[in-house]
Structures are given as C-alpha cells and as structure tokens.
Symmetry: C2
Subunit: 332 residues, 2 copies
DNA sequence: TTGAAAGCGGTACCAT
DNA sequence: ATGGTACCGCTTTCAA
C-alpha cells in the first residue's frame, strides 16, 4: 500500500496525497478528509525509507555510551532518549566499549546511517592523543558530549563542574578535622582527571599536603575495592576520611571500613541508586544528569534548527547528604 | 557524492558500482579494484535511506523497555544491543513507560519506521486485558519477548522459570526451619504473578499455610519498603524470613531488619549490582539474562532467516548465594 | 562481465 | 487547490 494506491482510491494525484501526508495548508478540507479517510480505511503507513530519501533525514540521533549496563550511563541514556522523543527524534543506541577502535567504528557506522546528530555520553569519549574521529564526525553533523569535554569545531559539551565538587568536599572534611583524606578512583578519563585535580586543589586550599599514598587507583568492582582498602587499613596507612570517584567504589571502601570496625566519613560520586541502597546510606555528589541531559538535547535541537548555541555549558553539582557524611557548609 | 559520481569517475555504469558495493562476484577483479579505489579516494558513503528503499530494510530492530534507568532492563538492553550488533543490526531504543497508551504508541512508531523486528524486554508488555497492539505488530514483523510471555502468532518468548525459583527458595527456607516467610513484591506483571504463584506453590509443597498478612505489596523504593517492613515488625507481625521480587525491595527490607535488630534470611531477585553492594551482601536469584538475551537475539536471527524456531524457550534460574541466605540443597 | 533502464515510495517544483 | 513530473540514490532485471 503506497501513495499511488491512496491517490487512486481517493481520486486525486500523488502530489495531493503527499500534501495531505505533510499537512500542507493548500489542500481543500474536503479533499483532505477524503484522502485521510482512505488512508485510515486501508491502514496506510508511509514508507519511512522513502521519506528519509526525500527529506534526507529520518529524524534519528545516535546515542553512544561505552556501556549501558553501567547504572550511570543507563540513567543518562534514559533521560536523553525521553527528551529526544519529545523533540521527535528516534534514538539509535550504540554501546561502544572502551577501546578506541570500537568507538571509531560506531562513529562511522552512525555517520553511514545518516543520523541527524550524535550524543556521546561520558568523558570516556575524549581520547588522550587522537580525537580525529570525533572531529571528522563533527564536520558532518553536530556532536554533543554529555559530561565530557572535547573542544573541536562542531562539538558541543554539557558538563558538570566536578572538580569544584571534589574540592568543596575536601574543604568540608578539613573543617571537620579530617586531614588525611583517601581518594579512590578508577579511570583517568577527562572526568576522572578533573576529580583528581579537584582533590589536589582542595588539599592545597586547605593547606594540606598531597600524599601520594592517599591517592589510590582501583578497578571498578566492589570486591576489588573492598580488598584494596582493607589491605590499606591493615598495613597501617593512616587516613580519616574517604572520597571516591564513583558510588560503587565508595561502597567497596565502606565495606572495608565496616569489616575493620573503623568509622569515618565516606563520600561517593554520581548519586546513583547504589548510594541509597548502601548501609549506611552513602552521601554522594550528584552530577545533575536530570538537568544536564534535557538541556543537552534542547541545545541539540537548537543547533539543528540553525540557532546559535553556546559550545559549552557547565552546571554545578550538588552533594546529596546521607548517613556517611554531612558537610558543615555555612549557607553554601 | 553518490553512485553516479563514483560511476563517472571510475568509467563504469552505476550498475557496476552497485555490484561492487554489494560484493557481487560478477565483477572483474580489475574493475572492482578501480571502483573501490575511487570510493576510497573520495570517501564515498552509500546513502542508507536509498539502500533502505531498495532492500526494504535498514537492518534495525526496535528494543522496547518500560524504563532503561532500571538496572535490570539496562543490563538486558546492553546484552541485546551487543548481540544484535554482532548480527549486523542496529538498535532503535524506545523507553515506553508503564501505561498502555505509551506502549501502543511506540509499537506503532516502530512499525512505521520499518524495523525488521522488535524485542520487548520485560513482562510489563503483557497487558491483562488487551494485547491486540502486540498481535497487530506481530502480524507484520517478528516480535520477541524477553522475560515475558504472550502467546500469539508471530510472538516468540524467551523466559526464565521464576516460579520454580521462588518455590525452591521457600522449600530451602522451610528445611531451615523458617516457616513464616514474608514475600514482598511490587508489580503484578506476568513475572510478578509467576513469582507469587511460586511462593504459594512452595508453601503448599512444604505443607505450610498461606497467610495473606505475609504477602505484602510495596512501591519499588528503598525508603518505602524500609518503612513498610519496619512497621510490620513493630506491629508484631510474625515472620522469620524475607523473600522479595526484586533486589531493591530486599534491600529495603534488610534495612528495616537491621534497624529493628532482627536477623533472618533475606533473598532478593535479579542478582543485580545492588545485591553485591548491599551490606550484608544479598543472596539473589539470577534470572540468567546473560544467556537469555543472546539466545533470544539468535532466535530472532533464525526467524528472520526463515528458519524454524520454537515459539517459547524457558531456562532455569539459579540462586546466587551471598551473606543473607544460603540454601541447604543436597545436590539440587 | 557490463550497461541501460525500470522500479522502490516518497518530495517538491512548476503549471494550470 | 490540484496535477504532472523530475528527482532523491540505490537495487535489480534484462540485454548485450
């Protein structure tokens, strides 16, 4: 059932059917009703590929993330998908994995599929050496990065000032007399580095020395972190607070503290369900995906509409206080 | 840059270019190389919409889930997407929400987009009264349901025998002298009902009475469950073990038990990260998404390839034992 | 092995 | 307001 059939059955030309299809005002009400009735009756569905060919768009946006089974990316994708849908775009999901070859492959794949734009979720998409694949993509369609920063033409970024968040937490801990703060992290993505910088910055502002034995790298696994931190405690490394780059990591550390019967503030990051599920419940920095994602999609809409849009927007995170830590901020 | 340009530049007809594009064997090696060289040189990318029109497929399948920010669906989508990709299919993601209107809308949307098939994740897609929208979709393209059951022509199901899992747990608990087992659930989807049936079945087999005050409905929220179970404990309702339809719910219950200083077995469901993050770590039933999802996608591949495929496959779940409960099964 | 030309199902311009 | 028709970029059949 195609436009020719509809035309025949309604006694009009395909041009008119097309007009009805696209809500053109220059069709008499009578004709429109007649055509619509026929469409309705035969259950006509316009061919999306043909329309794609004609319009040169199928109103699809590619969403890339390294791993959607990660609770943080899942939330971001959820928010992005829903907002895209509101704006009339479908979401083509690509889980790229972490290696650069995978990322390149999917970027090209999406370009070949002729998506209208791409949204990269997470700072894992910024490679340390070579971002030419992103540059290449951005030459053809707008590229939006959520929670990551790549400064190239055609690339737009929506991110959260994670560095200050960490620095602020260090300050708060210091004010509470916690001078030896363990920082546990997993990756050195842009975001990962920013947080570490924030940690160092915070120490500096507080007049505390940076001790490299308090900066710990781990694999993102509850068990591994648990073991690492326990070993640290047992080996006598001295610290009086823990900050983590991720809720999952904070929880691993928390378990070690519990096992060794130690009590001290613990702060996680991302404010995921995990924070709420933890016992004691975990205080965690919220990086505001709830506002970041919709904002990013709206920006994208504006870009596609040819409007002028800032290349980078930054919003402030906020600490969600639960049982493991309360800041003492005086009206902060 | 289109097929005509390539044809012109390589001194052949568009038909030959098309053959090269599709790897037809009836092109001389020399011609093929020449054409490929030109394509390479100009960075030619064939237009996906035009190919879609010609082939009548863009090798896309629609993935529907009610909410991808839910950790369980996120994992399923992750597995499905990756396997689809392996089979050369793109994933069009649709998060439908829970109301039936949303689901209908997205089903139609996907049909209009001419996807090759649809994968519905979760039993929330089986409506109690009217599944005509699924029936309609299945008339046009294969519909695969993961962890749900809808028996209609063209609908295929891959699911896990959750009922027995719950029944087995009841049996184990009974053998450990736990006769008053609280069952806490959130939804009455197909899966939700199956679990409750398993609970009742387990009680019956163990010769235990069903007590309606031990079957508790809650909202899926740690806080709510915490409060509900605490109130239960305080009001003197007597039980000596807890089973939940979801890890999150089990964790809420666990928190209540901790608060009231009660110790008893707790069993969750879905074996998510939450189980590992919980303190104490939560024993949980794994519904085997890791095998269910790839299997389902392979089935779909076979269906699309015209092969004969069972309409329903069922696999057995398995209990993952952690701190909150250990089964005593003698070689079960 | 290769090319010409007729689709695929729409869009959009130009007449009327 | 409506119709005729070229065109979007590719696939595929039929001849050569």
């Amino acid at each position: 059932m195609n436009i020719y059939d509809i035309a025949k059955r309604s006694g009009v030309s395909i041009a008119t059917v097309s007009r009805v299809l696209n809500g053109s005002p220059s069709v008499s009400e009578e004709t429109r009703d007649r055509v619509l009735a026929v469409m309705q009756k035969v259950g006509y569905i316009p061919n999306a590929f043909a329309r794609g060919l004609g319009f040169n768009t199928m109103r699809m946006v590619g969403i890339l993330c390294t791993d959607i089974s990660d609770i943080f990316y899942a939330k971001a994708v959820s928010l992005v998908e829903s907002k895209l849908r509101q704006n009339g775009f479908d979401s083509l999901l690509c889980c790229t994995g972490n290696d650069i070859e995978g990322k390149k492959k999917y970027l090209n794949l999406l370009l070949a599929k002729h998506v209208d734009a791409m949204i990269l979720i997470g700072s894992a998409f910024r490679e340390s050496i070579d971002n030419s694949h992103i540059e290449k993509a951005a030459k053809q369609i707008p590229v939006m990065i959520i929670n990551g920063l790549v400064e190239l033409p055609g690339v737009y970024c929506a991110l959260c000032d994670e560095r200050s968040a960490v620095a602020n937490n260090v300050a708060s801990l210091h004010r509470q007399g916690r001078d030896r703060i363990l920082y546990v992290y997993d990756t050195l993505t842009y975001s990962g580095c920013e947080k570490i910088e924030g940690y160092k910055e915070g120490l500096k502002c507080a007049g505390l020395p940076f001790r490299k034995e308090l900066l710990i790298h781990v694999k993102k696994s509850v068990k591994d972190v648990h073991k690492t931190v326990r070993d640290l405690l047992r080996s006598g490394v001295n610290f009086s607070a823990v900050m983590a780059s991720e809720d999952l990591i904070a929880i691993g550390a928390l378990k070690a503290l519990q096992e060794e019967d130690r009590d001290m503030p613990v702060v996680g990051f991302n404010n995921s369900v995990l924070a709420e599920c933890s016992s004691p419940s975990l205080s965690s920095v919220d990086n505001m995906l709830d506002t970041l994602c919709p904002t990013a999609v709206d920006m994208l809409g504006n870009i596609l509409a040819g409007k002028n849009v800032p290349k980078k927007i930054i919003i402030s995170p906020k600490l969600v206080e639960r049982e493991t830590f309360r800041a003492d901020d005086r009206g902060g």
